[in-house]
Symmetry: C2
Subunit: 314 residues, 2 copies
């Protein structure tokens, strides 16, 4: 396959950035890769690992780059755009990897020259590790990457970003910025918010009980604590930058939870069975009808999810 572009610049070499570096090189997706990171330590590590050519800063990295992939926390895209904006070559394509698209567009767009093309994207991939040592060349293989082209976007630029992610092995889907932020609010942001909350609930007791909560957590609680141990700064940025959508689905969730609580309070068995059955049936129907394999084609380490049953009553 021909390289997607000549020169690729990747700014930020954490887990995602360094995985993109590895994947771009391994798949020969581009002719040349130049990378940088705000942290001297990270730059040194990437150099020592020999992943790609490392330069001192964003301005230098983007010089002559055809495609720039910005890989920083959601709260830092504005500052990054301000730094690289003046140094982009005419016609350069800029993309990102943020979990929230509206805020990234709002923060970056004002700093980019008219001649550059912003094509936001969000690869749905990750591991529990962070930093450049943790990157994986196959992190994006068979995973979704959502591209969110802006109104009136340059078609060639959008096609280039799609082709780039396909070259890295991803399944690419396109949707609007707003649709992305609403879809992620329910599929990712609300579940995380709830997980953080239930974790607080679980550990509000004296230490002996805390230990017990962890000990017997296979009953359901553990599913929540896993995601509740995610990076706090990253999640602050996500919640605050997708505030409206997150609070919107939270409101709906509170109503749904109240309805179940009311049925319990009133010993209303039939309503409970009806509500609990609906989950199971809808889940099956949707999965079967759409031939959805729940994620994109599975990754090996991901499929051993045991369904931990409530224990003992069946």
């Amino acid at each position: 396959m021909a390289p997607v572009v000549n020169r690729l610049a990747i700014i930020g070499q954490g887990l995602i950035g360094s995985s993109i570096t590895r994947a771009a090189v391994a798949n020969r997706a581009v002719r040349e890769v130049v990378v940088t990171d705000a942290s001297p330590k990270v730059r040194r590590t990437v150099s020592e690992l020999g992943l790609a050519k490392v330069v001192e800063n964003g301005a230098e990295a983007v010089r002559d780059a055809d495609l720039v992939v910005a890989c920083v926390p959601v709260g830092q895209y504005g500052a990054l755009a301000a730094e690289i904006g003046p140094h982009l070559k005419a016609g350069a394509i800029v993309t990102d990897v943020g979990s929230v698209k509206g805020a990234v567009v709002r923060d970056m767009l004002p700093h980019l020259p008219k001649s550059a093309h912003l094509v936001p994207a969000h690869p749905l991939a990750g591991t529990e590790h962070s930093g450049p040592e943790a990157g994986l060349a196959d992190l994006f293989e068979n995973r979704w990457c959502i591209v969110t082209p802006l109104d009136g976007a340059n078609e060639g630029a959008v096609e280039t970003v799609r082709a780039f992610w396909k070259a890295l092995g991803s399944e690419v889907e396109a949707m609007s910025v707003q649709h992305h932020d609403e879809a992620l609010a329910i599929t990712s942001h609300l579940p995380h918010l709830i997980a953080f909350a239930i974790f607080h609930t679980g550990l509000k007791h004296e230490e002996a009980t805390q230990a017990e909560v962890m000990k017997y957590s296979a009953g359901g609680f553990r599913d929540f604590t896993r995601i509740a141990s995610s990076n706090p700064t990253m999640w602050r940025d996500i919640f605050l930058n997708n505030k409206e959508a997150v609070l919107g689905v939270l409101k709906q969730f509170n109503e749904d939870l109240s309805a179940l609580a009311k049925a319990i309070e009133e010993n209303d068995g039939p309503t409970l069975v009806d509500a609990l059955s609906k989950s199971r049936l809808t889940r099956r129907k949707v999965i079967e009808k759409e031939h959805i394999s729940v994620t994109a084609p599975k990754r090996e380490h991901e499929d051993a999810f045991p369904i931990v049953r409530p224990y003992g009553d069946d």
Copy 2:
């Protein structure tokens, strides 16, 4: 190891009951096993599988039994006790496997003769399957079994039930009935209630969006939908029979979730980071301090839990 008792009766041959049958035979935990089930079809299947001697009903099964293990849904223990009570031999030990202990004791105790010993228990084990074909001889190996002796319980009877579960490979812990129901409310019942609710929230949209929700569910939602596809009748029984404890932890959870929502609403970054960090730190501290391996020693299929990261920001 010497058999724990001579004659064991197991009533109910679903996943848990038939697993106990298999485990008791495989581990030679007793000299003789007699089983039954309310369903003729289940009795036939167990017969065909050759798991143990099958009889027509509970009254017949418990005749001359030293130990009776009742394995029926939480809502059915009263009727079962009424059936077997008059047929228990003097000194017989009766135990169960229900996810809620208070209600089981309340329902069974009035129907048992003074000469019998009720020792409630709850093995924390299960799979996503049900029925006698799905049982596994090693289902309880290295899993917790919680025994909840009643006030003034016969020590020999309690010791027999502990020894029985140890013979099946479980780690046995003892606690009070009330403590069990509170611990399970937070570690299992509340997480399930929340999972059912968020599932409703996620699938409240038109079908295209429902498909999307499942498609991108690896971001966190999937952890919830797994447990939301559990058996509706069983969960109705659990929620209604542990109502007070479940509604108690739910109230606390609602407060914890509101506090996070308020911080988001008010753009209060420091409070958010503080709250989100606490989860991570407490989790580590508790796990390390108590040398807890989160479940009892792991089962193979259970450890591949990937920590699905929020994607792309790290």
